[in-house]
Amino acid sequence: MAAGKRLLLGDDQPSIGEALIKAMDMSPADVVFEVRESDIRGRGGAGFPTGIKWNLAGAASGDHKMVICNADEGEPGTFKDRVLIEKMAWKLLEGMTIAGYAIGSSHGIIYLRAEYPYLVPILEKARQDLISQGLLGDDIQGRGFSFNIEIRSGAGAYVCGEETSLIESLEGKRGEPRNKPPFPVNSGYLARPTVVNNVETFAAVPHILLGGAEWYQGLGRDDCSGTKLFSISGDVENPGVYELPMGAALRELLELSGAKDIAAVQVGGASGSTVTPDELDKPMSFSALPPGGSVVVFNSSRDMLDVLENFMEFFVHESCGQCTPCREGNRRLLDIIRSIRAGEIASRDDLKPFFLLADVMKAGSKCGLGQTSPNCFVDIITKFIAFPGDKEGA
């Protein structure tokens, strides 16, 4: 079967607690080593190697180390973490507990986006179940290791998906990104060494521990490791969450979800890239098409300028306003998009200053929001929009 093995949402699940008990039979350093060797990279989108993060936090000096789960998925078109929590909340909690054991932390927090209040009871129940089975809480399985998890809600801010904004928000402040360094692994929540990982990353950890690093690595394709959840929506017959090898070709996902008429595909959400039908064989990997969690398909009836305007309205609304290139730049890009719509722009050459602005935004913004929000502008204008003054085939 081309789709490969499904781990995260497959039918064949390990029993609850199995991976944690196996982890506790190992030394914390060996757990970190296993995760590092598995080559898993952050499933939230940025793709930082998880094992390196754990290693740094484990080695950092400081008491009260923290394990934080980023459940603030806000990238347009992403809903994989919601489905993962709905179906397998225990696995996320177990992955966090293993992380706690590995780095020497006894306290975890799940930062759940405000838009998912209906997931709070699900997480709460999973937490209580684990506590009653002695797999979470004080003195887990009589091994002398304690780990507690708190569930906290965000209040509606896309930028809080950025890990330092998320930490600021947990500390009760505006969710504005911090300067790095120091990195959270050294000085994160309340200046404590902190690991922040995405829901899907934590959920993969029990599988890595049980199957081993080499096995997990072998599940990926291209230069990637493991499996990945993809949320697909838009003009497809069967929108939903699909699990494929990390690095699988975009075309594979489109076929699974029943995309027929494909004029454009947005990979990696509004901040990702917009690809043409010629690019569907590209692998969804960190080096080629970083997928984040979101794939949105547009058929030939869609006006890509509408799509671009919608994305840019989103970024104007969600920019936290801290960095000027992002705060002002997104507005300028939205203005020029509206001018294009009004027919006021004769040719692509007239947009040169705005491509320069896009470069400035990428270089001059502190966090991923401003660094990636111009992507859709550059991609859609370059690949999909025709201007009256363009030469043939431009």
């Binding site: 992403t78 986006r113 405000a114 209040a155 509606g156 929108p239």
Partner: protein, 130 residues
């Protein structure tokens, strides 16, 4: 954040008195609390309705017809997005992606998700709110 979340939930908004009280309880300036409240879209300083309807206005929902749903609801309620009905029953807001793109168009009514909306079903759901 937890204090503000509780206040916001209980009162539907975070009025000036609550900002002042929170600031003195936490030991920071009123301005600092105000800046936090104004940062997050789920917090409001203005009083809001008994029910808060948040209709998604991001791409997958738009492609599935959320604009038509919004027009229908606005017509029924006689308010625009961001406004509250004069009887204090409903506040209507549009929101960035709420992660229900596979069941678009979608909205949150208070804490409840409603999916695969049509103008008719959305109207019926909203008419059913007391």
């Amino acid at each position: 954040m937890e204090i503000l979340t509780d206040v916001n939930r209980e009162l539907g908004c975070i009025p000036e008195e609550a900002i002042i009280a929170t600031a003195s309880a936490v030991g920071v300036s009123n301005a600092e609390i105000y800046s936090v409240v104004s940062f997050y879209s789920f917090f409001s300083i203005k009083p809001r309705g008994r029910h808060i309807v948040r209709l998604c206005s991001t791409i997958s929902c738009v492609m599935s017809g959320s604009a038509e749903v919004l027009e229908a609801v606005k017509g029924d309620l006689g308010i625009r997005e961001g406004e509250t009905t004069p009887d204090g029953r409903i506040t209507l807001e549009t929101t960035s992606c709420i992660g229900l793109c596979d069941q678009a168009p979608a909205m949150l009514v208070n804490d409840e998700p409603h999916t695969r909306l049509t103008p008719e079903t959305a109207r019926a759901i909203i008419a059913g709110l007391e």
